[in-house]
Each structure stands twice: as structure tokens, then as C-alpha cells.
Symmetry: C2
Subunit: 282 residues, 2 copies
């Protein structure tokens, strides 16, 4: 069993807790692939290089980044060269023989580039061309399995590769991790960020326990999924896809706590699953 | 037989010719590891990020870069995230299943960090601390051999990893390629740059054929090695180490020509070797 841990790319994320626990578990022969983000540092560097990020609102209501070629290059530079190697270094310092890879290496994350974005700007629908972002359609796990078999620990990051043109393309890190967990049929996909999980109300205190959605049973038609919007809707949709694809459980929890994996597995965060409806019906 | 090709990191290097030829050869089942540099772009980005490169002169007379931690991070970002992934993308677009790695991934390039540099500044000897550069002492080829066996094409870049602290460290790309060629006992190590090879006089026209040193036979005590200085001395020393370590031939040639590998193998550039003295003596 190979489980997937995704760690976000917020500026205030603390990698040390996760790296400590991963090292402990990997040295005890548990198998994982770590997927990471890097958005905040990418935005910082892009601003410093005079090419600030441009965020747009799609016609379906999601906020996303417009990824022109220059943005794609900065994205690749920071995700693959800065965050990825920093994590690999941290794991090597903890005795784990980590190998950092992106989705273009060995075509691990293969998909389809959109090419253009349909957006809403000033209340009008527009088409924005030259967009290097897309959706993963296939995960080539051979390289990862080969590394895991030989005792290496893969640390994986977007970008992905466009199947037709083999160009790098930006993909959402959570969705990439979900596709990977599906391909590996993982028991769990753990998505770690700087917040305790999915929150009922983003405007109120994060630390309030009542504000945390403790579980979402996708087989329950009254689940709060129906009312979610924006970023949360995107996260729940990703989790639902993973679970429909054979992942046992998706947990959204905080990275900024000692032993964040154990913390999440012990019930913290938001657990998303689908209770076995067929067995109940028998 | 696995040969090593190193391509430099000058701003005016043209990767396309090399990638075209590598793809043609790799698809015909020749085996290579490609090592690359990235110094010019690293210097550009470092300047844009407000942390310009600092070059120092060592007491032994070499010019080198002072690599503080921030410089190391920028170096890693550009080498591993920008140039490495750009080459991987270019090879994938030519049908080669490339995998980009740095010397810290799987501890491929392991060595010893200097920690401090003994330099000459304003005619005085000084010690500059906090230097993240060093020398490779061991090449762990397992990961590369595993990838090559399974049909992947490794694209490798500095930094290396300090054996004691597992911190990233800056190493000279040519020397790294030479250590790799030794570890693989390659028939040849091909070092491609923007110049035709080693030049007698750097101040005169590069394209003048008389200015090119066509060969250096290290077994010949009258070879021009004795009089070389600075950057050229460093290159010849690296080549000499490789050949003493079992590499058949080191060729320094230009990348900026069609089929640069065939061009060099056909006799272009500077060929460095050691003629078989013992056999001649029999």
C-alpha cells in the first residue's frame, strides 16, 4: 500500500513537522509519495521578476491563475528548483533517500492543456489565449513504483506534461495528488495545509472547533458539499473524484502541528469518504 | 557503455542542436547521461532578485563564486527548476522519456563542503565563511543505472550533497561531469560550450582555426597543460583527473553547431587523452 500526502504551498506552512514524521514512517518501511505545492513563493518571485501573477475568474466561477509561458517558466523554477529541492534536502538530512521529480519527468502527470481560458472580466465573457494550464488525464506510475521498490522516496510536484505537445502545463496540486492516489489506489490521500480542514465559515476564527467540518459522507445526500462554493467546492470535488476512483479516504488537515499524519489519521481535520451503501442495503 | 555529455550554461548556448542529436542517438539505443550548467541565467536571476553574484579569487588563483545560502537557493532554483526542466521538456518533445535530477536526488553527487574560502582581496589573504560549495568525492550511480536500464534518460545537474550535513552544495559542472564519467568508466566525456574548444589565446578571434588546441596528449610532457592558467587550467586539470580515473577521452567542443556530438567525435574541438605509454614501451 502506497499512500499519498500532499503539502500545500502557503508562505506560513512549516515543513519540519511533516518531514520529521515522514522520515520516521519511511524508515519504518511505510510507503508514501509526497506531492507538494509552491504557489505563494511562486507569486513572490514572479512579482520580484517583474511578471506578477494574473488571477482570473472562469465562467464556471472558479478563481484561477492565468499561466502564460513566462509564468509557466517561473512556476517550474520555483516548484521544481526551490521547494522540491528544499524538501529533498530536508528528507536527506533526516536519513531518507529522497528523489525529487516533476510531472514532466518520466511523463508522470500527463494531460490536456486548455490553451485558452473562458473568463468573466468586468461582467463580460472573454477568451484568454496562450494559457499553459490543463487537467491530468493519466498518471504514469512506473517511475514512481520503480523508485519505491528500490528504496528511494519520491517527492513529486507539478507541472504536468501536455500529452500532445509535451509542453509543461500548470495543474492544481490537490487535483494532481488526487489523480495519483487514484492511480495507486491508496488507502488515504492526506491534504495538508495551514488550516485545520474544511471550515464552515472562512470569515470566523480558524481555531474554533465548531467551525470545522469533521466529516463528509459522500453517500449522504444531505452532505454540506451541495452548498460549498469557490475554493472549498473545488477541494470537495477533487476529493469526491478520488473516492469514486478507489481511494479509501481523503483527509484535509493541518501541516503545522507535530506528527501531522498521525494527527489526521487519529481523526483531526475533515474526513471525506463514502460509506458502503451497498452493504448497508443488504 | 554509457557516455557523458556536459552542456554549459552560457547565455548564448543553443540547446536545440544537442537535443536533436541526443534524441536521434537515444532512440537508436545509445546510452548517455546529460549533465548541464546554468551559470549565466543564475547570475541574471540573482541580480533581479537583489542578490547579485559575488566572485572571489582563491589563494590558488582560481576565480570562483562565493555561494552563501541564499545564492545556493537561487542556484538550485535556476539549475534544477529552470534549465533542467527546460531540457527535459525539450527531450520529451523529441520522444525521449527524460527524467531530470540534481546531485542531491538519490545523493548522486556526494562530497565535502569547504565551509569557508581562502581568498585574495585587495592583495590580502582573507577567510570567507558560510560558503556552500565543495568537491564531489563519490558518485552514487545506482539511481542513474536503474533509470537507464528501464529506458529513461537522466538529465543531471549540480548542486551536489555534502556527505556530512546533507546540505546542498555548489560544485563545478565540468568537474561533476568528469566524476560521473569516471564512475561510469565512459569511453568519452564530451564538454560542450559556446567556443570551439581550448584556445591558445582567449583574446583573439575564436573562429580562427590556428587558435584552437586540437589535442593534448597527457603522456607527452611537452603538452601545453604546463603553461595553462585560470579557467583553462581548471578545465585541463578536470580532464586529466577523468582520464587518470579511466575515461577514454575528454573532448571540449562547441554546442552551437548541427550534430555537435558527431562533430566532436569526428575530430573537432580539443581532444584530451593519454596515449598508451606502456604498450609503446614494450
Amino acid at each position: 500500500m502506497i499512500n499519498v500526502v500532499k503539502v500545500g504551498g502557503s508562505a506560513n506552512i512549516q515543513d519540519e513537522y511533516l518531514l520529521d514524521e515522514l522520515a520516521e514512517r519511511v524508515l519504518a518501511a511505510e510507503k508514501f509519495v509526497l506531492v507538494h505545492g509552491g504557489s505563494d513563493e511562486t507569486n513572490d518571485i514572479a512579482r520580484q521578476l517583474g511578471h506578477p501573477p494574473r488571477f482570473v475568474t472562469s465562467v464556471s466561477g472558479f478563481e484561477s491563475r492565468y499561466t502564460d509561458r513566462r509564468t509557466m517558466e517561473i512556476f517550474s523554477m520555483v516548484y521544481c528548483g526551490r521547494r522540491n529541492k528544499s524538501i529533498v534536502e530536508g528528507l536527506q538530512q533526516r536519513g531518507v533517500n529522497a528523489v525529487g521529480l516533476s510531472g514532466i519527468d518520466g511523463r508522470i502527470f500527463e494531460g490536456a492543456m486548455k490553451g485558452s481560458l473562458k473568463i468573466i472580466e468586468d461582467g463580460k465573457k472573454k477568451v484568454l489565449r496562450g494559457d499553459y494550464s490543463g487537467k491530468i488525464q493519466k498518471v504514469n506510475t512506473e517511475l514512481l513504483l520503480l523508485l519505491l521498490e528500490q528504496g528511494f522516496f519520491p517527492v513529486l510536484t507539478p507541472p504536468a506534461i501536455d500529452a500532445d505537445t509535451s509542453a509543461m502545463m500548470n495543474v492544481d496540486g490537490d487535483r494532481a495528488a488526487a489523480e495519483l492516489a487514484k492511480a495507486l489506489r491508496s488507502d488515504y490521500l492526506l491534504i495538508l495545509s495551514t488550516v485545520p480542514g474544511l471550515l464552515r465559515d472562512l470569515a470566523v476564527d480558524h481555531s474554533s472547533p465548531e467551525n470545522l467540518i469533521r466529516e463528509i459522507d459522500l453517500s449522504d445526500t444531505n452532505n454540506p458539499y451541495e452548498s460549498a462554493e469557490g475554493r472549498m467546492k473545488k477541494k470537495i470535488m477533487g476529493a469526491a473524484e478520488a473516492i469514486e476512483g478507489g481511494v479509501g479516504r481523503v483527509i484535509l488537515s493541518t501541516a503545522n502541528i507535530e506528527r501531522p499524519i498521525a494527527h489526521a489519521l487519529a481523526g483531526a481535520g475533515t474526513h471525506i469518504f463514502s460509506s458502503p451503501v451497498l452493504e448497508q442495503a443488504v
